[in-house]
């Protein structure tokens, strides 16, 4: 039976994983209940060194990739057959930022490969949203007004000479300004795909109003935090219990967008997401009460004040379920298996925010 095959095949996994999970070793991964108020003193005592807390996109859409998801490290020559109804396809991100799906489509009953090149419209450049689950996170009922028509080319997988052109429509998504993102649908194909621009907002209010940010903010129950203690040693903490609501209610909703060009030290540095537009933005809380946020234009920040920033740290202590120290070597970097990175991509295809495209 195949489930027994899985069970048996686990005997052949990497030996370091076997050791890591051994009963005596596993106990070192125990979550430590968070002592009251001690964490804030530790963080402040450790000084103004950038600490990285990764909040991984989970949010309201459980199909959005989370950290630890297997990496879609598929070359152009690797395909998978999936029924149209399930929409589970291989994604590759090549240098042209195309995304390639394969699924059965009636070109003589063959499996086809679709190409989604960048689309220019209304002065903006749209690219298919990075997350491979974007096509399932938008239902037909959610699609708004038609914006323009285009075409998508499909190529045969078994027979590369075969090709067809599919009519496609780009439409608005209710609650999202088209300047931020649109959805693409194709005739005869179930589901829709998100295309987004590399637009940065002037203010948090604009993000809320035009990108639906407050409702689509995503985060994870786990926060991975790297900082240094008073002796300069790197310390890694994993918190549990963060929610998007907590982050929003206790921090993001409390400030106003202002001009900011300071370079004060960061207490916390948080990576957060938008479950539709697939932002992977960095949010920093500075010791003087500013929240710099990479979805905002450069030179803009949200000001909450020192008192509120400190209160947020207190709130982390009071409301997170715990934290634990982990080994310094623990990271979300890929193991040396030749598999490209499984960490959530930053805006790799959008030019000026990083180039972390896995090879």
């Amino acid at each position: 039976m195949k489930h027994e095959a899985i069970w048996k095949s686990l005997s052949d996994i990497r030996e370091d994983y076997i050791e890591e999970a051994a009963p005596d070793a596993a106990k070192s991964a125990k979550v430590i209940p968070l002592p009251k108020r001690s964490l804030r003193r530790r963080i402040i005592g450790w000084g103004a060194i950038a600490a990285c807390i990764a909040l991984i996109a989970v949010g309201a859409y459980p199909l959005i990739g989370t950290i630890g998801d297997p990496d879609e490290s598929i070359t152009d020559d690797a395909y998978a057959n999936y029924p149209v109804r399930s929409w589970k396809g291989y994604i590759t991100m090549n240098e042209a930022s195309w995304r390639i799906f394969t699924f059965p489509y009636p070109i003589n009953g063959e499996t086809v490969r679709l190409e989604f090149p960048p689309i220019e419209w209304n002065g903006e450049t749209y690219r298919l949203s990075q997350d491979h689950n974007s096509f399932v996170s938008v239902s037909a009922e959610e699609i708004g007004d038609v914006l323009f028509e285009t075409e998508i080319v499909a190529h045969g997988v078994a027979d590369h000479e075969q090709s067809a052109t599919l009519s496609a429509t780009l439409s608005a998504y209710p609650g999202i300004d088209p300047a931020y993102g649109v959805v693409l649908t194709m005739e005869g194909v179930e589901g829709a795909f998100l295309y987004r621009t590399a637009k940065y907002a002037d203010s948090l209010e604009e993000l809320i109003e035009k990108a639906g940010f407050s409702e689509h903010l995503t985060t994870s129950a786990n926060i991975f935090h790297t900082t240094k203690d008073a002796s300069g040693e790197t310390v890694h903490l994993v918190f549990e219990g963060m929610t998007a609501k907590l982050l929003w209610d206790q921090l993001l909703s409390l400030g106003e967008t202002v001009d900011y060009h300071g370079e004060d030290g960061n207490w916390l540095r948080i990576s957060i997401g938008h479950d539709l537009l697939q932002y992977n933005s960095i949010l920093c809380v500075t010791s003087d009460g500013y929240i710099t946020f990479s979805a905002l234009k450069a030179g803009k920040a949200i000001y909450v004040g020192t008192e509120q920033a400190r209160a947020f740290l207190d709130y982390l202590e009071d409301n997170l379920t715990g934290y634990r120290l982990v080994e310094e070597t623990e990271s979300f970097a890929p193991a040396d298996t030749g598999t490209p990175a499984t960490v959530t991509w930053t805006n790799a295809s959008y030019g000026d925010r990083g180039t972390d495209i896995p090879e």
Binding site: H3, L10, D12, I18, E19, A21, D69, A80
Partner: protein, 190 residues
Amino acid sequence: MDTLKTADERIVDLYFARSEEAIAETAARYGSYCKTIASSILASNEDTEECVNDTWLKAWNSIPPARPGSLKAYLAKITRNLAIHRREKERAEKRGGGEIPLVLSELAECVPDQSTVEDGFSKVALADVLNRFLSGLPREKRIVFLRRYWYNASVAEIAGDMGLTEAKVKSILHRLRGQLKLLLEKEEIL
């Protein structure tokens, strides 16, 4: 430079020297560990003891030429495989209790929907996919997964060892099974 060697390296040296002290040292250091692995799979203490003894024999017969990088994991694999094999042979007479039926029923959720019983599959490919799946997990989740499906620990044991609630452990396992299923479907394994 012998003082720089680890305890495991010294034990492996004993195997290479064909000293029977190797077995005694191995049993002293890993007897309890291998017994835990075997007993999570097998129904009786007698079977467990025999499995552990077979582990030492197999280690003696395979080292050399093998020189395990991790003696602990090397022995663990031997014990697990022997226990699984023994369980299969005796399953008709003695239904293994404990966690195994639950573990297997949970792993059944990972089998892709389009999989058919008749399809063949590559064991090497499956192991490779499992390693890639595991390498992509955060350490804590990987440990939870393997404690459950490698070490066959109960949810309560895992929760207690790791300071998590049982609900949290179940939630983690449920999610990981879903992720594994997606990967197996995508890789067309099984």
